[in-house]
């Protein structure tokens, strides 16, 4: 069982089979088209996908359904909704049923998931409230400032995501810029860092562009004559906005929601840096299972649960934008 410490023995077989299948695919393409066909140019990407996307997912699924000895089990999923299950089983074999029964039922995992979803929902909602008017402003052809604002939104994205988040830490900390300002104004210091508000702030700050840009794109694609037609038919600016512009920008909104909600649910760096470990989110939990506890099996099961949730929410969103006009990943 020397493979078990890293990857199961068959994963090497799988990788080999994947490579063989890839080579066969390339050979078939050359044979069928008697030369280099355009589809051949996709082969580096296909190889990349096989090695770095398909294989890891297969491995995660494998770990999720096996125990540490490699045998099939559903216990990892049971650990999702009953997080003390494993401890209880160990106690049962060591000290008997009575002692085992004292271990509390319930799940810290589900609480964390609900909390993550709630935070992601808050983040998405606030991003939408902030982002839509911003996108509207940016897409307005009569506003000369629009282009400047677009650039202002893009510039922070040139900086590394981790650095941006850490920068907020030094802004928010007790001796940070904001607290210094507050003190200078005679308002006194406040605890700004290491709480839910700081985490939410960090998430909104980092994910807001992902809301603004899809909406901006779908708004700037709108035919300006449509607004004129609405005005022509009796709409003032507000009515034009909610009768014509808003309904037609829904694809962008859906794309924005997806692109903010997904990274929000799975984020683990922001809550760790700005929440200081006081607020745990589902991403942190998965990370801890893998890297701290070294329990790849439960970690994989949790990952699968989250993937499932994301897939479900994506398919619901896709219903609202059947043509994929938003241009996002939805």
């Amino acid at each position: 069982m020397q493979f078990n410490s890293s990857m199961p023995w068959w994963s090497y077989l799988l990788m080999g089979a994947g490579l063989l299948a890839f080579i066969a695919l390339v050979a078939q393409s050359i044979w069928r088209h008697r030369g280099v066909h355009r589809s051949l140019f996709a082969s580096p990407y296909t190889l990349w996908m096989i090695v770095f996307t398909v294989l890891p997912v297969v491995l995660i699924a494998y770990y999720a359904f096996t125990d540490s000895a490699g045998g099939f089990t559903l216990d990892n999923f049971r650990a999702f909704w009953d997080s003390n299950h494993l401890m209880r089983e160990q106690l049962r074999s060591a000290a008997g049923d009575e002692v085992a029964a004292t271990v509390v039922r319930g799940s810290v995992n589900i609480d964390t998931l609900v909390y993550s979803l709630w935070m992601a929902f808050l983040c998405t909602a606030i991003c939408l409230l902030l982002g839509y008017p911003a996108a509207l402003f940016m897409a307005d052809r009569q506003m000369k400032l629009g282009a400047t604002i677009v650039v202002l939104f893009i510039i922070p994205m040139w900086m590394n995501f981790l650095l941006r988040t850490i920068a907020w830490m030094s802004l928010l900390e007790d001796t940070g810029l904001i607290n210094q300002l507050l003190e200078a104004m005679g308002l006194g210091k406040r605890q700004l860092l290491y709480n839910q508000g700081a985490v939410l702030l960090g998430m909104i700050y980092n994910f807001l562009p992902f809301m603004v840009f899809p909406i901006y794109t779908s708004l700037s694609k709108l035919d300006p004559r449509l607004s004129e037609a609405a005005a022509d038919l009796g709409c003032n600016s507000w009515r034009t906005l909610y009768k014509v512009i808003m309904p037609l920008s829904i694809p962008g909104v859906i794309s924005g929601i997806t692109m903010v909600f997904m990274p929000s649910v799975t984020t683990f760096f922001i809550p760790r840096v700005l929440g200081g470990g006081h607020t745990q989110m589902f991403g942190d939990l998965i990370e801890a299972k893998f890297l701290t506890e070294g329990n790849w099996n439960v970690g994989s099961a949790l990952s699968l649960v989250m993937m499932l949730l994301i897939l479900i929410s994506l398919s619901i969103l896709r219903k609202a934008d059947p043509n994929g006009e938003g241009g996002g990943i939805a």
Partner: protein
């Protein structure tokens, strides 16, 4: 009431970033009139329409509606409706809801909306299409929806911006007649923008010919065709032979190396003029009896007539005739005095040779 001015544009100018698009336009539109703004692209006709619709503000001048200045009135408060060039139908609404849009905004009772939308659908020949998506309609059908969407609001004036531009020739001709009869039946004032001179001649009560932000001529179609104000109008409305000539004295003009009797007077003697002769006004006669003689360079069959290019040595005339002469043959050309149109030269001479001629 018939002759009452509905809309007056008084000395209207429009600049876009320092570029003059409209240069001192004055124009009035009477009730129930079909007025067409005609000109090549960039002549300012669409800008004029957009000023009346409320989508542009004039840099200078007044816009009166029934005598009141409406320059500062936003589009949604004006009693005009626009049919946009590419229709600008709302893609998120079906045909019925597109047409009902204006009525819903005005909080019309639902039963009345339904009744009037049905009536409109019938008028534009789209009965039963109410539930369709607008994107599933053909160009001609979308066009009708756009017209219905405007007309249902019973505007005083309907503004149409090249509404038939995207349609094929046959459909365009059908729609021209349909629009004209609709306008007469409903008694609504139409202001129509096009670059198609035939369309303008077919439909209009009054044609306004524009170029480079200026109005060149206003008149009814027959007047504009028969008595073009200058060589540009003559060239733009129908086909023309345009030559530089000299008015020798009243009722005698020299061009293409010969002298011709004409009916115009008052230009003075030996004055440079532009001479316009329509291709259908040149008669082919025997070589010995023509006022001019020339060689036929090309013959093209155009359906109703043959189009021949005839070289007289000093000018190549375009001639329309129902009888064909073989290419290369020598013919005589004859023009009756009434069909020679003399006008003041519009610009500086058109080429260097003429510049020298007029300098002499």
């Amino acid at each position: 009431m018939e002759n009452e001015h509905l809309i007056d544009l008084i000395h209207v100018s429009k600049d876009f970033d320092g570029v003059k698009v409209l240069d001192d336009i004055s124009l009035y539109i009477r009730k129930k009139e079909f007025v067409t703004l005609l000109g090549p692209s960039g002549c300012g006709k669409t800008t004029t329409l957009r000023i009346i619709g409320g989508f542009e503000t004039p840099s200078e001048g007044q816009l009166l509606f029934e005598g009141r200045d409406i320059v500062s009135l936003p589009p949604y408060k004006r009693r005009v409706n626009t049919v946009f060039q590419k229709y600008a139908l709302f893609p998120h609404l079906n045909v019925h809801d597109n047409i009902a849009f204006g009525l819903k905004i005005k909080k019309t009772p639902k039963a009345e909306i339904d009744r009037r939308v049905e009536q409109m659908l019938e008028l534009v020949g789209l009965k039963g299409y109410g539930k369709r998506r607008v994107e599933a309609l053909s160009g001609g059908q979308q066009q009708r929806v756009a017209i219905a969407r405007s007309l249902v609001n019973e505007p005083e004036v309907l503004l149409l911006d090249e509404p038939l531009g995207a349609l094929d020739l046959k459909l365009r001709k059908e729609m021209q007649l349909e629009l004209k009869s609709m306008q007469q039946r409903l008694g609504i004032t139409f202001l129509y923008v096009t670059h198609d001179q035939e369309e303008a001649l077919t439909m209009s009560d009054t044609i306004v010919v524009m170029r480079d932000g200026k109005i060149l001529q206003i008149g009814d179609p027959k007047h504009i065709y028969d008595e073009p104000a200058n060589a540009f109008v003559a060239d733009f409305i129908g086909e023309s032979n345009i030559l530089s000539g000299t008015m020798i004295r009243d009722e005698l003009v020299a061009f293409a190396g010969s002298e011709f009797p004409c009916v115009d007077f008052g230009f003075g003697s030996n004055a440079p003029v532009d001479v316009v002769v329509r291709p259908e006004d040149i008669t082919l006669v025997g070589e010995d009896v023509g006022q001019l003689t020339g060689t036929i360079r090309s013959v093209i069959f155009k359906g109703v007539h043959y189009e021949m290019m005839i070289d007289t040595g000093s000018y190549v005339f375009k001639v329309h005739s129902t009888t064909m002469q073989p290419q290369g043959s020598r013919v005589g050309l004859s023009i009756v005095p009434f069909n020679i149109h003399i006008m003041q030269p519009m610009n500086a001479p058109r080429n260097e040779k003429e510049a020298q001629d007029s300098a002499v």
